[in-house]
Amino acid sequence: MTTTATIGTTIASDGFALDPADREMILEERGHYPYPQAACIEALKIVQKRHGHVPDGAIPAIAETLGIRVADVEGVATFYSLIFRQPVGRHVILICDSSSCFLTDYEELRDAFTEHLGIQMGQTTADGRFTLLPVCCLGACDRGPTILIGEDLHGPVTPGEIPRLLEAYA
């Protein structure tokens, strides 16, 4: 196990090593802002893109790369809903649970998803294919109920369409 010392803190990095290409991208992001802390969210997203989630060991690695405190990275990593701190499926299905989708039968759609996949909201299928999560209004309320799979917006989605819709996501 390696450790990384930053200002006043020592946190185990759990053997996590930042990919050199990711490190480069994070350093480039740092150049877009007047202070390195600002690149923190982008850095977490870069790590997440490679690993699917942000492993604990990535926190001190990002802190060291940006020259900021571990606690500041951890604070940010635990605040934002699209930063995943646990492994997620290959495809994250975000189901809009806001009011317009609620009024166009979101709850039925959510129940159909949980039943079809055999998991509850917040869980991942045993084969590691899908994770189900709620999301705020996806800005497509005229097409409610809506979902986002990866970068693809779908709506309106009816329960009967679920099996065919998911075929595209191996």
Partner: protein
Amino acid sequence: MSRILQSAGERRAETHPLTWRLHDDQSPVLLEEYLDTQGYAAVTKALEQHTYESLTEEVKSANLRGRGGAGFSAGFKWSLTMKGEGVPRGYIVCNADEMEPGTFKDRLLMEQQPHLLIEGMILAGIANRAKQGYIFLRGEYHLAAAAIQRALADARADGWLGADVRGSGWDFDIALHTGAGRYICGEETALINSLEGKRANPRAKPPFPGQSGAWGLPTVVNNVETLCNVPGIVNHGADWFQALSGDLSSDGGTKLYGVSGKVNNPGLWELPMGTTGNRILELAGGMRDGLTLKSWLPGGGSTGFLLPEHLELALDFDTIGKTGSRMGTGLLTVVADNQSMVSLTRNLEEFFSRESCGWCTPCRDGLPWSVKLLRALEAGEGEAGDIELLEQMARDLGPGKTFCAHAPGAAMPLASAIHYFRDEFERGITRPKGEAHADPIPVGSV
């Protein structure tokens, strides 16, 4: 791909400044076409003919009111920005965090007409003497991100961004910042914290961002639709902008209005500011499946419910404000007669409860409690006094009691739902006050 913007007649530059260039196939308007259709003419005009004061004055007299929901005059806000000789140049931040339940307007503008937003930001940059712009885009808007990245690169390559903009000696650039979720990032001071790479807790005001915003420098935060209105004002003048809404409203310009819920033809339209709810609902084809309209939200989840009789009112900030609700984002959410106000209110308060940043007690602790009470009413297991307690909570969440406007936003639908539909809430009360319940209702995953 977003839904096609719908036309209520032909769209022209003079009458539909936000949408006249849009393509039927929803593909983005690229730089070349934008330039061929008066694009960036307002930047050229501003650099040649305006001082930062006169530019601010033009936008102020147009009475362009903030389209992010609060309706604050953009020109007035700009006149308060600290700027001038000896003051360090700060930032223009475009609030593109669109997450207000029921709101789907900014996404269309960014996906299909990113140069209009960039032009508006450059103009805001000139008027506020900013050195840098940031577009704070919510992380889920992937298509918009791609359209904006392309447009920024094209605009920069053509000299509209960067050092010495079009040979004027003035420099200004724009970067895209994408978020990572959380509705609270849309609150302007939380947004600034998030931009700085911090947790998105709002900041105390004063100082206002115009004095000390991002990284301590003067910062102007404006909504996407607000900024997209600026090029038209600079090109055609404040009087033209005022005339767009004619006698309908004292607020100038057009508005992207929309309807979602169980209507025949949900969608988005660019219409004169002050268009009535009836007209907008008519464009949306009325209620579907033989349903009847019971209630509606004028502009997102943080606005108050209204009744069908309010549809005859002009949808503008002051008129809707007089009803006790707010125009908010101006995108209507309609509720049908067979949909429960208690359930819908529970859904809304679940949203606000989950999205609270946790900074202040009424919001952090009050909202989950309200959800618990609403769930009990929904299940027909409420006890006498629950409604009065919810009303008290709505007051305690009201303006001035919390750090930011998130809690007052949560209070609006709660208070108005009880006010107009008290009978529906009363039907959920089946127990006398204080009687222990055999099967306690869990607080739930809020």
